[in-house]
Subunit: 304 residues, 4 copies
């Protein structure tokens, strides 16, 4: 038994499915005003940020999640200068934004200041100094309220929120009402990328409902996928805009734009990966086509 791991993190993915990660250290174990926060060290995935018992990212595979979330939108827009992220307190979306020379202003709204502080201390590779960049403004207010009140418009918006838990801080940002607000805050060629939850069959309904709800606000809605091992499978995202469609970009065009715009090398995303991400399996396309669930403030979505 000597070398069998004895300490584990459990994530209840659904009432009927649990993932367990071996842990070698508990670097931080606290609770903010909004949620529980842990930073765990794991032999399999390096350091992991855990909010309300859900892994938000791991050092080993966060590059997949964050590249998948940020770059399709940034590549699709002709020249993103002003960008916005809701959530993403660990700083990795900022880091990806700042790799584009065209970006002049980044606004980040994450209600939970403690997530940012804990991430900067224990997970510095996530932000890589992004919080100190002069183009970045960070606000600890409600993202919904902020977007309703501001008159600013953005070229790219990334919605990088925790899952909509019943007691959690984010469920109102998964509604039709919020997506309407979002559209009003976009420049004419503006693009929105929304992290949309697991596409595993047992908890698919969130991904499908987010896509359908976005369709009530945006003419173009493109669901897409990337496997994030620490999340236990394939993760769903949705790209929305008034007229630009990522499925119209050829693999070669994606590679050309990346080469022209980006000042760093990516590990997950390129033209071929782009093509793979937007080629959604038949049963998922059919599920989305069949679904008529619209998420609203009065009929919110809650995940487990």
């Amino acid at each position: 038994m000597t070398d069998t791991p004895h300490t584990w993190f459990w994530e209840h993915v659904t009432p009927y499915f649990v993932q367990q990660f071996s842990i070698s250290g508990i670097l931080y174990n606290g609770r903010s005003e909004y949620q529980s926060i842990q930073v765990l060290d794991t032999p399999g995935f390096g350091r992991c940020l855990v909010l309300d018992g859900k892994i938000q990212c791991s050092e080993y595979d966060e590059f997949i999640y964050h590249e998948a979330l940020v770059h399709p939108a940034m590549v699709l827009h002709p020249c993103p200068e002003t960008v916005f992220v809701a959530g993403g307190g660990e700083g990795a979306v900022l880091r990806e934004f700042l790799a584009y020379d065209s970006v002049k202003r980044v606004v980040m709204v994450d209600i939970d200041r403690q997530v940012i502080e804990v991430s900067r201390e224990f997970l510095p590779s996530l932000s890589q100094g992004a919080f100190d960049d002069s183009r970045v403004e960070v606000l600890h207010v409600d993202a919904k309220k902020y977007l309703e009140d501001t008159r600013e418009k953005f070229d790219v918006v990334v919605i990088d929120l925790t899952e909509p838990l019943e007691e959690g801080p984010s469920y109102l940002l998964y509604t039709q009402e919020f997506y309407q607000t979002l559209k009003d805050r976009l420049t004419p060629d503006g693009v929105v990328a929304v992290q949309s939850g697991s596409t595993s069959m047992v908890i698919l309904h969130g991904f499908v409902a987010v896509a359908n709800t976005l369709k009530t606000a945006f003419p173009v809605v493109a669901p897409y996928l990337a496997e994030v091992p620490a999340f236990g499978g394939t993760w769903g995202f949705t790209l929305s805009s008034r007229r630009l469609d990522p499925r119209d970009l050829s693999s070669e065009e994606v590679d050309r734009r990346l080469a022209a715009r980006l000042n760093k090398k990516l590990r997950f995303y390129d033209g071929i990966a782009h093509q793979g991400m937007f080629s959604v399996p038949k049963y998922l396309r059919e599920d989305i086509a069949r679904s008529n669930r619209i998420i609203t403030v009065d009929s919110p979505l809650f995940t487990y």
Copy 2:
């Protein structure tokens, strides 16, 4: 606590990662000459076949795995008439083969007769009568020995074996030596599909090594992916042939061939899914390009 599930199946995916599925019944719990065999009922995935503690398929998502394993090879071949499957005792590969009108002869070699018997009794939706089809011949011998001894050649070969465990029955069928034998048993346009294990970063090495080893035997080797939720993420496959490359098929051509050849409707696979499956993320393509691990009888691959 009343409604929390209390009975669970644990799968040790790696020494550092465990998946737990809630179970509502243990329909079969036995041991053959070769492996332990269980059929479990689960609220999340329906009935599951478990060999040596690893889920082989679930009623709810086996269609993804089996369509991904069988159809790219069948679609790539100009006109598959004689087909072969090693393993696959639950009968679903047979079922998919038999949906092609062109198929005249199916040989299945699964060393473990008990897997077939248990599957026919407890998981009849997997084979759907395929074992009774007059085109099918089933043999309970060692697949390696069978292919070495036969003079028959096949248009499509599917290798649907359990993971190569140190004590398990299949590790010699993941070697360069076996892949050479395979090539010799193919017709000139013959295609081989090999299930190649998880592509999760923590256990990626099997997938990469299988692709590299196949390259020593075949001019064309195309790794591809499909998410199988019950397997805890994205699964790897590899298509190999002398000259036909699945990446040359357009999405439209795949749909055309399916419409012309197949006498049933698929749920997972079509032209778009084909394009997604073969568009492998950058880091996986780079891992395969970098790797020089060749699996041989003297240097076998064992997974956890």
Copy 3:
């Protein structure tokens, strides 16, 4: 991994402590009007009855629990003729009662008929035919209501209920009000034995509160202990009466009474075991002396 067990039963003993038992079969998995009911087969403990996710008894060590629950009371009473059990639907308390030649009438009140039916079918060794004995009357009504309404008095009463869960059927039978009712239903030398929960330090409060609450109704209250491995440790019981104290019985006197009265051999209980059970460790005696928690209908006890 071949021989590692893969299917497990989890029991959440406290929010911070879980026990897991390997299971080889799920013989029954249902839900009555009152609670979930399972019969599990386990390599470690044989068949186990599980109500609302808590192990009620295992074939291998139920003799400890049931001998500890029944015999001290039966031995303390000068000549038990009429006996009563609340709960105990699996039939083992009946079995122990019927081993006394003096017993003429046994009343069992268990509100959940389905527990009895499932136990008779899947756990026949528990009741060993006791339900067919002509001295036994079984009623499926609320035990509290029954004892309030009857005029009958009993020599020995055994309270063998599930833990007082907030949603469960039994919490009102752990109150001062019920214990007063109990006292009124005893003959002058009557003795009551109450299963009183775990005495593990982490969940000790139930055991201590039951003892204190019984003291408000009975002049003599003797807490005692027995280790029941399937319950994960030492279990608490309480013997109460108007004047007879089990701590006054010498080890020899216990053995004499057992020899004179009992028509079967016991495995756990004898004079020495009696002495051990009632010799409670100092810290538990001090906890009981210090506590002033009285359980009432308005201030009920709930365990996890």
Copy 4:
């Protein structure tokens, strides 16, 4: 889910039984030359010392284990002056020894210096300064070798070793050969206390075999029990001597000796607890009487 614990320690008690403790911190996670060493913080039991994946003691209930291990022997001996402990690196046996005014010399032999250092840093309440007492000598050598080589004799010897794991440092100290050596190192009234493992039915064989093996070396062998919740149930100990029998001490005599000899208050042990500990249930006494297993160097005992 917000407040459900997510990080857990697993202890494989047997292949078929696992205990899980919620953990809030990993204070130390290392490996000495002999074993893995962890100090975990737990909501249920405070800080816990874990060696090779087995909980050795918890802050909350270590008083039960250590009082049960040390005081019966110290009370039984007429006037213990020279005392010895094998193992016990966390320092709590020392602490209990030093509470006796009669004690003039304490020798501790624990092969693993790192256990002592880690315990002094992270679990100071265990030793409470005992390592700095001038009466204490600590040696990091093999206890078996030390006792074979020394000519010193001791009044009380305590064997406080980890379980005899196949790869572990202690299995040779659970043999008939070692117990013969022990006897030779005792003064005429000398008493040996041996921690003897779980008495849970599923892993009883160790406790029974230790008692039987001690009987081949000592005229008086008295097995006894105490519940240690963090160990998951009742724990076994064995007291051996040439002529003094703890079962001959009345409860009152134990209390008298404690009052006369001890300069601190105990929490678990007193006259009544003594009586309870040595009143072993019938089935355990019968198991010991029936067993003929003698542990020798050539036929060692290994636990899971």
